[in-house]
Symmetry: C2
Subunit: 194 residues, 2 copies
Amino acid sequence: MGRWEPNARGRLADAALKLYAEQGFDRTTVAEIAASVGVTERTFFRHFTDKREVLFYGAEAALELVTRAVAEAPESASPMVAVSGALQAFGAFFQEDPRRARDRDAVVSASAELRERELVKLDAFSLAMAGALRERGVEPRTATLAAEAGAAAFKIAYAEWMAIGRSGEKDRELPGLFLEVLAELTSVLDATRD
Amino acid sequence: MGRWEPNARGRLADAALKLYAEQGFDRTTVAEIAASVGVTERTFFRHFTDKREVLFYGAEAALELVTRAVAEAPESASPMVAVSGALQAFGAFFQEDPRRARDRDAVVSASAELRERELVKLDAFSLAMAGALRERGVEPRTATLAAEAGAAAFKIAYAEWMAIGRSGEKDRELPGLFLEVLAELTSVLDATRD
């Protein structure tokens, strides 16, 4: 990063998100994004490979956060408890800036291509958590099941959190909502024998 | 379909799968596929929009099968029981021709792009099952949870079934393997309170 561009990456990401939300993802050019924060297109491309990548800014850091949380869960924690703790931390990460999360979500939801990209990203989180569980000595199948169950509950809690934000209802905290959905998932599965 | 091409669609799909497996997906051309069953490229494109679509041949029929199974589950069935029954039927669909399923899987697994496509397809199954449950009067969150839990268990059972097929171990039936994985998912979630 050049010394005349302090935090250019973060400022470019914010500006891009704002433009995508205002005028649509497809209609926003890299030139506009760069101009809106006073840098050149070349600077943009030093930070992001393309327009789409801006939307997944922070994903690597979040993936590392979640993986580390699974790895560092207390030795006595069951696989599901380790995953649950990690995903509560992930929820807290979004909860820090709900407005930004919602602006971003509106852009992603409006495009089939971006929704697919999001699905693939969520799968990467599930794979990373399963890997961290196996490192803890958990059987492969159990590791994958705990990670997938956590990811499914998180996906649903996240969608509800977004819907609540749009509806103007009293706000909910994402980590708590996630725990509630996970508990309901447990009940739904318990009814397998009905 | 012209009268000189009885079941051209099925024959094209079989021939394509064989060529993909033998020489790789990327190195196989539509011209080769068409020639190998004695039709023109134009005939190929009357049945499939592209080379990739051949791999997802039958997906619409399977989606319909699964959705109908959820809709037609006994009234007394819990959401999870309805989903479980539908996915056992889905497993039986693959079990009819394990060799074909494995040839196809080898091709899909070898390509990041095709693996992403597969993930998106599985999500479509989950969405369809959740929709069918809502039609039965199930609450939206419960419907999505049951569908996602079933899809997660199916994905894992399917991957294990593929691995068993490659390893030459004694074969397992996919529907039974799915039930076993679903039962383990229930136990994994029950340990949330440990």
